[in-house]
Symmetry: C2
Subunit: 107 residues, 2 copies
């Protein structure tokens, strides 16, 4: 699961999360993604490269433009891994509930 490194690492940056949030509203070109940020175009281009490398976005070629949109696969992978933690936390809660329930009568 080497790709989780890239996916989580990509999501660790607030600019990249903001880009994903923007793409959640629909496709956007590089310049459209540059506009809302106080960053240069090369900086955004590199963020997009990171997101693409992590499988979080895909791009198509449209003349000189490169419209980006969300890709589905990485999120599914992340969800799957987090599911392990979720289940463990639920189990631990159940265990705690059990402990508390067992303690109640004596109190």
């Amino acid at each position: 699961m080497a790709n989780l490194d890239a996916a989580f690492s990509a999501l660790a940056d607030p600019t990249r999360r903001a880009i994903l949030a923007r793409l959640a509203l629909g496709e956007a070109t590089v310049m459209e993604l540059v506009e809302p940020f106080e960053l240069t175009q090369p900086a955004i281009s590199r963020h997009l490269k990171v997101l693409e490398g992590a499988g979080l976005i895909v791009r198509r070629v449209e003349g000189t433009k490169r419209p980006c949109r969300l890709a589905p696969t990485a999120v599914a992978e992340i969800d799957q891994w987090l599911g392990m933690l979720r289940r463990a936390l639920e189990t631990n809660y159940d265990r705690l509930d059990g402990v508390l329930a067992a303690m109640k009568p004596e109190q």
Copy 2:
């Protein structure tokens, strides 16, 4: 949501994800967490500090030991943020389905 930076960043490291996977099986002390890795104790101690800072684990004091266990809050936060992407991807799929459905008759 400044904590998402810390949470995703913490999850980006495979050693830290392995530690979390171990803690999903139950509480463990620092030395118990060092054992399965080819890393020194200070390295693991720092990983644990990162995980704690991200709200992914909590520790209690038990004599000279510091048993660690999973903390629930951060995973919930992450899930919440990913929910935004999930919903967007579903919507985009629906949209694509719509487009494909609209195309079918003409083909």
